[in-house]
Symmetry: C2
Subunit: 151 residues, 2 copies
DNA sequence: TATTGTTATACTCTATAACTATA
DNA sequence: TATAGTTATAGAGTATAACAATA
C-alpha cells in the first residue's frame, strides 16, 4: 500500500481545475464569437487539409456531429470543404485566410487567459505542472483507450 | 508578457487528465454497481444530514436533478429522506448503515484506482501535483464563480 | 410572500440507423 | 462489398416553469 497522503482526491482537484479552465477559456473565446470546440477544430484543421473523419477521431467527436461542427465554421467563412482529388468521397477541410487570422487571434486569447490563471504558480510552478501532467498522460492514464470529447 | 514555454496548452493537458481520471474511476465504481455522481452525493451526505438544495449546491447540480439522484440512492437503501423537525419543508438526506458500508468500500476503490494512475509520479510527484493544483484552485481559478457539475 | 421539494415540459447534446455517392 | 459523408431520428441529460406544502 502506497502512503497516500491526506487531502481531497487528486481526481477531484483535476476535475475542478479542468472545469474552471474550460469555463474561463470558453468565456474568453465567446467574446471573440468563438466556441472552445470550434477553436479546437480550427486548430486541428490548420495542421493540414484532412478528412472529417480524421478530424473527428482527433478531437474525439462522432462523424455525425462533425458535420454540423464543420458546417458552422464554413458558415463563418473560416474553413472550406474541398473534394479530395484522389478519393472523391472524402471532403478535405481547409482553413481559409480569414480562418487563419481568427485562429491566430484565438490562440493569443487562449494563451493570455491561461497565463492569467497560471500566474500564481510562477514560471517554475507552471513548468512543474506541465511536466507532471505529461508524465501522467504518458503513463497508465494514456495507455487506456483515452478517446472521448474532453470538451 | 510572461515567457510561456512550449508544448500543448495546460488547459488541454488538464482536460485530458481529468477525463481519463473520471473514466477510470467511473469504470471502477461501475464494477461496484455505483456511479461517480452517486458516490459524490453519498460522500456529501455523509458529512451530516443536509437538505437536498444544500447538497445540490455542493455538488453543482440543479435541485430538480437532485431529486432523481436522491431517489436513486433511496431505491438502493443507501440514504433516507427525513423531514426536518425545525422546518418541515426540507428533507434531510441521511446515510443508512448500508450506505455507509458501500461508501467506505467505494472510497477504497477510488483511492486504489487513483493510486494506480498516479503510480508513475512517485510519492514526491504526487505531493507536488496536489500542491500545484491546490495553489491553482486557491488562486484566480477558485475566485471566479466555479459552480458547475464537474461530473 | 418566500422557500423546499416535486413534477411536467422543453431544450441541448450526442449517438444509432439509414441513405448517397463514391471506391 | 466497403467507406466518407450526410440526414433523420431517438435517447440521455439538463434546465425552465408550474405546482404543493410549509414557513
Amino acid at each position: 500500500m502506497s502512503a497516500e497522503c491526506s487531502g481531497p482526491p487528486i481526481g477531484a482537484l483535476l476535475a475542478r481545475s479542468s472545469h474552471a479552465f474550460n469555463a474561463a477559456v470558453g468565456e474568453a473565446l465567446a467574446r471573440e464569437g468563438m466556441t472552445l470546440r470550434a477553436f479546437l477544430l480550427l486548430e486541428a484543421a490548420a495542421g493540414g487539409p484532412r478528412s472529417q473523419q480524421s478530424l473527428a477521431a482527433d478531437i474525439g467527436l462522432d462523424k455525425t456531429t462533425m458535420v454540423a461542427a464543420v458546417d458552422d465554421l464554413v458558415a463563418h467563412g473560416l474553413v472550406e470543404r474541398r473534394s479530395a482529388p484522389a478519393d472523391r468521397r472524402v471532403r478535405l477541410v481547409t482553413v481559409t485566410g480569414d480562418g487563419d487570422r481568427v485562429r491566430q487571434r484565438c490562440r493569443e486569447v487562449v494563451a493570455a487567459t491561461e497565463a492569467e490563471l497560471l500566474d500564481e504558480l510562477g514560471a517554475q510552478g507552471r513548468a512543474e505542472l506541465r511536466g507532471l501532467l505529461l508524465r501522467l498522460l504518458h503513463g497508465r492514464l494514456g495507455a487506456s483507450g483515452r478517446s472521448g470529447s474532453c470538451v
